[in-house]
Symmetry: C2
Subunit: 309 residues, 2 copies
Amino acid sequence: MALIRRIHGWLGDANPAPPEGIGDDCAVWKPGPGVGWELVTVDGVCYGRHFDDSVSAWDAGRKLLARNISDIAAMGGEPVRGVVALWLAGATDLEWLHAFYSGIRDCALKYGVRIVGGDVAEAPAGVFLADLTLIGRCAVEPVRRGVAREGDSIWVTGALGGSLLGKHFRFEPRISEGAWLARRAGVKAMMDISDGLAKDLVSLVGGRMVELDPDAIPVSAEAVRFAAGSGRDPLYHALSDGEDYELAFVMDAKADPNGFKREWNACFDLPVACVGRVVSGSPLEHGLPAIRLAGGKPWTYGSGYEHLG
Amino acid sequence: MALIRRIHGWLGDANPAPPEGIGDDCAVWKPGPGVGWELVTVDGVCYGRHFDDSVSAWDAGRKLLARNISDIAAMGGEPVRGVVALWLAGATDLEWLHAFYSGIRDCALKYGVRIVGGDVAEAPAGVFLADLTLIGRCAVEPVRRGVAREGDSIWVTGALGGSLLGKHFRFEPRISEGAWLARRAGVKAMMDISDGLAKDLVSLVGGRMVELDPDAIPVSAEAVRFAAGSGRDPLYHALSDGEDYELAFVMDAKADPNGFKREWNACFDLPVACVGRVVSGSPLEHGLPAIRLAGGKPWTYGSGYEHLG
């Protein structure tokens, strides 16, 4: 985060204000009158960092595309076109690479993405990594992060935690759900959960104080299994593991949560849950804690997953 | 090239036909009625491959953006928005990184590009690399590669060869020239010269035979200086060094070359030269030689710069 803030400063006037510039799941702009919004995001995978020999090449390729699709879905957009920049050393196994691109292809065909270009370049020995830039579109205005007021409620899709047991490679980006949410007037802010709900909430609500109801948080079966090994509370894993690729969103205090849930259930099998609300009070020093559990106990982040930067 | 063909096959139906899919300087599509064409390209730089400690961080950052701008210019487009995916190890010097981003920023401001997003991820120890994806637009139909018939003439801008003496970092992408050429009815095909004219011509004319006039080829002063050290003919360097980032284009046999040159000279200080023409005859085995010098001598590629893949 600190490094991204620095880069923001270094780019100066070359980086426009959000939502066009740096600071949300995607960059967003209107290419012309009557054609809706366009979105772009970029994310990569690196051997030894994001996957290793225990992971199939197909899974690694699929994840490269799926995590970018999740960023587009997180603003209500539909993914359309991607380009892949591949860095590989001379010794890369062609069969492995074929499976990697098959993972990209199968994911692209499933979600209607076209891979329209790319680059292949030689990396230093032992290095394999790939960046995928994904362009999407959205007929309505994309839903940003950081828009929330006291009384607004916080919602999440699916179940959280324990992603390392498999979901971090096999998650389904929430495209339909994101597009549906972007069309509802009461939905004010949205993002996908990549670093864990506890950490991501700070961006979602723009640094306001949030009170979570521990009993309402959808703890996954994997979080429970994970907790059996870690000795921590399953709730900890649900809030801190990250790589859930579920949607977290803010609903206006004036919206009707029961009516919303009824309509949601008529459209989707995926569960949705109201997990808390924005309350008065401001974050303490260093922005932490911005979350307290119902009853007033501040949430401590512990060793939740932290992206570099 | 062989690897890119394989990737093409592996992607199958996920990769549409050119110009939307893989196979030109950029991928090209129309985002909607009345808004022209959109283009996207991606290219990267890697420490130890594309630059080393003899190169300033500012130059490396500038080149990352400028080589992508050259790809947009090569189809007649105007660069608009870019995203940067950065891979760095923990030990990267912040001052160096600041200068790298300053190079990107200064180039972006000069050519009207906005850097709208990016990603920062941790690379294996000792690795520093960055990919930049650039989106552009074009009010008229972008000029593709590979469209040429017998009798068409081949043209190049600027002077060629010896780029390693400095131009490979300080070249000016030919945006205005490319946009001007895209608006002329007689210009059928265009690309930028990155691998050297001899190699790039094969893509420019779609594998047809080309006869070059050695006396018409604009050999740069740097190619002459380079030849003094290499013991080769300056013409060899002009045709094979690569990284010229000049435009090469095909003009229809029916177009008036003198009228064209007059109008060009009224608009640009940059020289333009007709260097040869498409002749009858087909490339030999393996596509080589597709070029002969006036008089009939086939051009041998020798050790011209060859990109991986």
